[in-house]
Symmetry: D2
Subunit: 349 residues, 4 copies
């Protein structure tokens, strides 16, 4: 490792994932944040736009200028909405900046699938060029990567739980059900009817039934691991809390499989993964236990009556589900220790 | 209908279901509450034990005395923990009081099953004598009933959604998964580690994996409707809100079934049921929409890719999941209009 | 009392106070809701706009038409923003409809004061003609009233606590401090940055320091009771809950005054007021205890060390702080029992 | 600075302040935690007792043994209830361990006052020997200190806001009112009726009116600064959130004082204090903005109408109000940079 810091720009810094990138990177020993970019809030003090940074960050939000970003940064995190991201990513990538894109624009490998779920792609020349940044499953490809598609929050939660099962053929690839529950921050910073406090607090609901855009991303990764097409039912729910995802996945166990074998498979697969903790069989992880951290808690339970495995996983959607994972990708891509700047304990309670 | 009021005692009045019974019954036009009984808090003013009743109820909590209750009441609601309830129920029933028992003691029809899940039964002479009070499915048997087992909160939510499907053979009885989410009041009024605010707020978790006692109750009712043994996976989750249950159930659709057919089946089954609203196909009910009311919202969604139906249902666990349903049972048992005193709108937001 | 129902229109029915008016009036024995008016959502089914009314209200939202409203209604509740309300109120009042206005447009008696805090008034011909609808303090004037200004939520909470003290000269009119805490529903239904779940949950803050428009309304009423100008510091705070206001008011006690005397003065003043409960000296009311009801809990504490009285009060901002109080005004204005349709118990917990 | 790490024991590690000490110290570059002590949970794995530390801390909770702690630690944090702490502190101090006591046992300087508010003291030989660890106001005395009384959460919040005003004689010392609002974690980890989720969520209440034990601690510090006895009204409130204190303090301004002068006085006093941010006049800090951090936000507002200053302050009760401040004390006492290990950004949202 060199002693020189990695110079980093954050583009789209004024939303929640941008704020979380700043929180993490300001304490990261090998990174220097050289540019904080945000289109609609350009020119305003960072500490006014992100009030938690009062007394910590003194500059203003920059307008986007690809040349200026490229001149001052080795790497950029793009925390922009899908659609808006691809063009920016392409400009930076063309100027030699290594890009970690938190949007969905480069997560899907098949253009038809992308178009069907997201519409037209705005940087087709780069399509298919990104490494999918689910670090625990793509570590080798990430070393030296110049373009990384940081996974969605739900696919991170669901697939880290299901990967050991699918990978070791412990479950059928038919009939997988993912019932996921997310805190409200996953919906971003823009106010709307469905995230208005009075109509969000004290209620739980499913949303985007059968139509959530993370579905193809989940299936792509599981299909890759299974080496054949996998279709899942994915039902996201909105829970009255700010952070956290709990994924409760159900799958039909292969003959002879039980919770111990699932647990062992997960522990084997995630050996050496500093972010993953595989709890004992039958445990019930709580999103509060990993709040604010880059950690994943997994557990497996087997129902001999119905022959199903229940795979539980918890992440903080803004950390391991977004900004923390992006930094984890950067660490690997720049050959730093994977957990550098990311091993802080959860904030509990 | 006679003009005389039904005289009612509430035994176990100082917990949440007792409080909710009082809230409902104090506005019920045909009921007079004649006795408020609570063992550990006997002698204390009701308004001290239940501070929301300050200025509304002026008496004290009575100690239990079967003869005194029987002398003053035509009916009793028993809102006691399972195990503790059966003996009290038997004493009152023997004295001619019609009993609506909110505990689990009389919900299970098979003694072996009861014993396996709950332990010894404390009033074996009455075992199997109660009518199961899921009103929409047992209305006829409830008329004139003298002993009613008011259903559990989760079985009410899950089975009202699944009954039309199982009843009309629209889904397979194999592989039914019920992923349910409950507010914290379902855990009752006794403080504990798992309902402590700081460790409950801002977190979601599954609990009692494969071991929740509502499992056999759910299966008993579905098996009855299917006319053969049904086994389900039932996974309850604790959500950081006080009231409400959302049940997300998954089942394999029979050939040719879609969301419209499920919706129609539900509308047909619940025609004339004042508490049930069957929403349009694909709707996502929110527990906030029925908070504080005796209402049930149902919806059905079909996934042609995987051939599964998603059956969603929402109830307020303390109302339709407990006290409201108990009053609904009383209305039917005493030949009052089923919705009397129960048609108040939800408190929203 | 006649047997004929009072025919009522709700104008601005699709916000929270409108929804709450509907919840209350649908159970009111002497009222029939004949028109549900909402400008921006006209033509849409009520149950789509207010999802808690699914299966309860079957019609659509009407556009505003003064003649049509007047033809079908004896009274109208206007639940519109200030500024927008006055013109509508004037049209209805001119057509003989008795109007209960939940906006601020007619609360202030002095035009200069109104203009300074709210800007131009849009129905100057009616200015000063309304009865101020803090029922407990204006009951006599309200009988037969044709135009009622329903008080703001904070003035209701603060002044019901302070009125007995000021009225009986138990405290100095100098140095009164009102530190009030409100749930988020007080900010209404329009989504915004400051009511976005993720930035509202798990945080408390003061807002509109020294500039909240309820200040002149509080002072007007206290000055009237004191018979001389009273100035207060009023600091509202936003609390991460949906409903409820707690007002903590501090005043310098007159010589010889203690908590018992304050309590007695309040009990004397509110004798016969069905909504007010004066708790024992030193009690700490909780907003949860009155949630969803039209009740007010008051308590008084005296600090002999500093000679101050602490006057605590709790209301539900959407009920006694808005819609419930409006119905209470209607009851009195139409010579019905003051508590008719309003005596339902709080929803606890 | 030497390169050797400070060896630290945490006694009473299994409550919230203990957990928070661990979270902070595990990332502290100059500290090594050598012992995690907890009486009632001795022998259990740390990660079982504090589930957020699964995969982070592998040992078990130790039973208390003064000799063993002293052998392995240069310093100890005692996070025990008052009363229980003094004896443990004395044992460790006698063995040469420098002690940072988070209980109230050594905060009060006057034995009569201590006894009146807390009862008998259990280590009278050490009474009066501790440095009061409000770092910003006692920095010089803390250098080299061997016994530090870490301040209470409310006194930290209130006094940091009021100190600049009292110190610079900008306000009268008469009539100071402190209306404080705290998250529920301040009540600790033991479950109880008043912190039970269902009765805490969605409600706000004042508590311990005029009797909260932080009152004499607040007054002691203000009296010291004012150089004469100061009496305050201190009213704590419980807010439905886990972390955070907002203190809203009211004081009578001296002639000619306004918000700018108060702000300047605070900025002057806290120059060089890495934890304190003095916001611009009239700002409204939110506890969410400092959640999870050791930061303090202050702001001052002046009301020319009533001549009062409103001094607002926010802290995280578990960090700057307890564990973070304790570490800040250790840093100063051991001659490390005051902010070492403490400058991490808040977790927002």
């Amino acid at each position: 490792m060199s002693n020189e810091k990695i110079r980093v720009a954050i583009v789209g810094a004024t939303g929640y994932t941008g704020a979380e990138l700043l929180r993490i990177l300001l304490s990261h020993p090998s990174v220097e944040v050289t540019s904080i970019v945000g289109q609609s809030k350009a020119g305003r003090p960072v500490a006014e736009v992100l009030p938690s940074l009062a007394g910590i960050v003194s500059g203003v939000v920059d307008a986007f200028d690809a040349d200026r970003v490229a001149a001052g940064a080795d790497a950029a995190f793009c925390a922009l909405p899908h659609g808006a991201s691809a063009g920016i990513v392409a400009q930076l990538h063309a100027r030699g900046v290594r890009v970690f894109d938190l949007s969905a624009d480069f997560r899907i490998g098949d253009l038809d699938t992308y178009t069907r779920w997201y519409g037209e792609h705005h940087a087709p020349e780069l399509f298919g060029k990104a490494v999918y940044g689910l670090v625990e499953l793509h570590r080798a490809e990430l070393r030296g990567a110049t373009l990384v598609a940081v996974p969605g929050c739900y696919p991170t939660a669901a697939n880290l739980a299901l990967a050991p099962l699918v990978n070791a053929k412990l479950v059928s690839t038919e009939g997988v059900i993912i019932d996921a529950k997310s805190g409200v921050s996953g919906a971003g910073r823009a106010p709307g009817e469905r995230t208005h406090f009075s109509e969000t607090s004290e209620g739980i609901r499913a949303y985007k039934l059968l139509s959530h855009r993370h579905t193809p991303e989940i299936e792509q990764e599981l299909s890759r691991l299974a080496d054949r097409p996998v279709q899942v039912i994915f039902t996201p729910h909105l829970v009255p809390m700010t952070r956290g995802i709990l994924s409760t996945a159900y799958a039909v166990a292969a003959p002879g499989v039980d919770a111990v074998r699932c647990t062992e498979a997960a522990r084997a697969l995630y050996e050496g993964s500093p972010s993953v903790v595989v709890l004992d069989p039958g445990a019930s992880p709580d999103t509060l236990w990993i709040r604010g951290s880059n950690r994943v808690h997994l557990s497996y339970t087997f129902d001999p009556r119905t022959g199903r495995v229940i795979a539980l996983s918890t992440i903080d959607n803004l950390v391991k589900g977004a900004s923390g994972q992006a930094v984890q990708c950067l660490n690997v891509a720049f050959d730093r220790p994977e957990g550098e700047g990311l091993l802080f304990a959860p904030q509990w309670p």
